[in-house]
Assembly symmetry: C2
Homo-oligomer: 328 residues x 2
């Protein structure tokens, strides 16, 4: 009988979905970054739940306040990628018995600071004992129908863009977990990207208003995986022509003899947006993003995700961070 | 430094709340059974999150499907007690590695069956590894402003009622955990109340529409605790004149030399509603509940929770099931 280790997170989700009766006329398809529920004729409720688990999601060196903050960022990033303003947060905490009162204060302060950083409030929740620290959040907001950036609207000819460079978080994790080396300056940037991730909420909300974005996804499972998700949901292909590798990740790869493309494509827990943009509205999108958008490729009709390097096309592997399968 | 064992769940929540900046004009006070967020002039979003943890919330003999069902009932019961129809559910699952594919199927099927039992759908969620099974749910719905039954509206002279008898679940837990004895027939009823709890959704929705209910709470922390919560939130006292002990709990107490009052007042994980009712609307409330309402006492001006027995008043102890403190 298959165990969770052999199944992997995505297959587990497939098994679960197979058991769920679908609501008819779901306004946002099952499996997109957020869920939607119709509210009257014009609006949608937007909902998201994501859980941080101590063992797998808190690397060494991360404080409890930073872990609490990360739990918020994980959820807000999905709202950002959909162009939806988050309104309020509920928190369910599973707390191991060895924690002290000061730890609870730290978790509470981290949750609150992150919630306020993104303009939301914590409205309620629940606590109980658990053998591992669990910070389970649900976030809700509202959106006008038809304004949510889905994964499914990309069309051949659209431009593929990201909201920032990749590779910092996987590099930072290699420093924290495997003690790889980096210069002090580079190390700080890389480790900071792990401990203090940022959700691109301002950019996502502004991009959502332009009408320039045909598809969007949050990149928390890695760039390659995000490209595949857009490819699957939109039934298109993607050719990456320029890898958006962060300068610090490039230096880190050099120092440690690593492949920068690997760090860029197959990382995870990077909270950038991956977007497809209507070509005639490119400049408008760039403006809305505060000039942060980086053009990395284009959408194609042939349903493959490729990476073009020195004129040769290679297939991007359909992998990324996956719970149960990925080792940290 | 205080540990979680010495703090207890309610003090932990107090510590957390001390860290959270409150949204101004919260339509439902922090700490009520559900949270609310204003939606336009007339409506509220209603939100609830509650987490089931394997170690503390799944007694021996409970299947994974029943555990998944219980996680749904825990949340729906809070909607029931507020008179709000739940609309959709998000699920975050923490799954221990030793689980098999068939276990995932069972959890998924249990979640779906319970969601459909209460007219809701599962809209999305998240999974990841955890050392213990975690079923973290968030439920949302909407309500017209002013129609939500809060804990805070009880007034001296109101009648105190419950939606059903108490004592079955704590008795059932003593059978499952401590192997206490009961006749086959009684045993089945008591164990069933643990393994297949029911939320009083139909009754709660009907009662919410009567305008007869001045305060309401779900009794998942026990009857005594629920009475204290209404007393605190409404700034009133309560005198219990008739304990609503289930016949099976009475027999079980007799067989095992236990105090039936203890089983009735200080249990937990019983998903009845505890309500205060405007006296002139009593009959209307009884009708709406499908004649399930049991009158147990009255609201008083003196802020004490008492139990009257053979003409003598005793103080009900302010205790109930509490994570971190309570032993199971």
């Amino acid at each position: 009988m298959a165990t969770l280790k052999t199944l992997g997170e995505r297959k587990i989700i497939e098994v679960l979905l197979g058991q769920f009766e679908k609501m008819s006329r779901m306004p946002i398809p099952f499996g997109d970054d957020v869920a939607g529920y119709p509210a009257g004729h014009k609006e949608l409720f937007i909902l998201k739940a994501d859980m941080l688990v101590g063992e797998t999601d808190i690397p060494p060196g991360m404080t409890l306040s930073q872990a609490a903050r990360k739990a918020v960022v994980m959820n807000i990033s999905d709202f950002a990628a959909k162009g939806v303003k988050p309104k309020a947060i509920l928190v369910s905490l599973g707390l191991p018995n060895h924690l002290k009162k000061k730890d609870i204060v730290e978790i509470g302060a981290g949750l609150n600071a992150a919630a306020r950083e993104y303009g939301t409030y914590i409205l309620g929740g629940d606590t109980g004992e658990a053998s591992d620290l669990i910070i389970s959040l649900s976030v809700f907001g509202t959106a006008e129908k038809g304004t949510v950036m889905l994964r499914s609207g990309a069309e051949p000819g659209d431009l593929v863009a990201v909201s920032g460079c990749f590779g910092k978080t996987p590099s930072g994790l290699k420093i924290l977990l495997d003690h790889l080396k980096a210069s002090q300056e580079v190390r700080e940037v890389l480790v900071d990207s792990v401990l203090m991730p940022k959700a691109r909420l301002r950019e996502g909300l502004a991009l959502g208003k332009t009408g320039a974005i045909s598809a969007a996804i949050d990149s928390s499972d890695g760039l390659a995986w995000s490209l595949y998700e857009i490819s699957r949901a939109s039934d298109v292909g993607i050719v990456v022509e320029k890898l958006p590798t962060a300068q610090e990740a490039l230096e880190f790869a050099g120092t440690n003899g690593l492949d920068p493309a690997e760090l860029t494509l197959y990382g995870g827990e990077e909270y950038e947006m991956v977007l497809t943009v209507k070509p005639r509205m490119w400049e408008k999108a760039v403006e809305a993003s505060g000039r942060k958008l980086l053009l990395i490729g284009k959408v194609t009709a042939e349903k493959k995700v490729m990476f073009e390097y020195h004129g040769k096309r290679r297939v991007v592997e359909p992998r990324g961070y996956e719970h149960f399968l990925s080792e940290k």
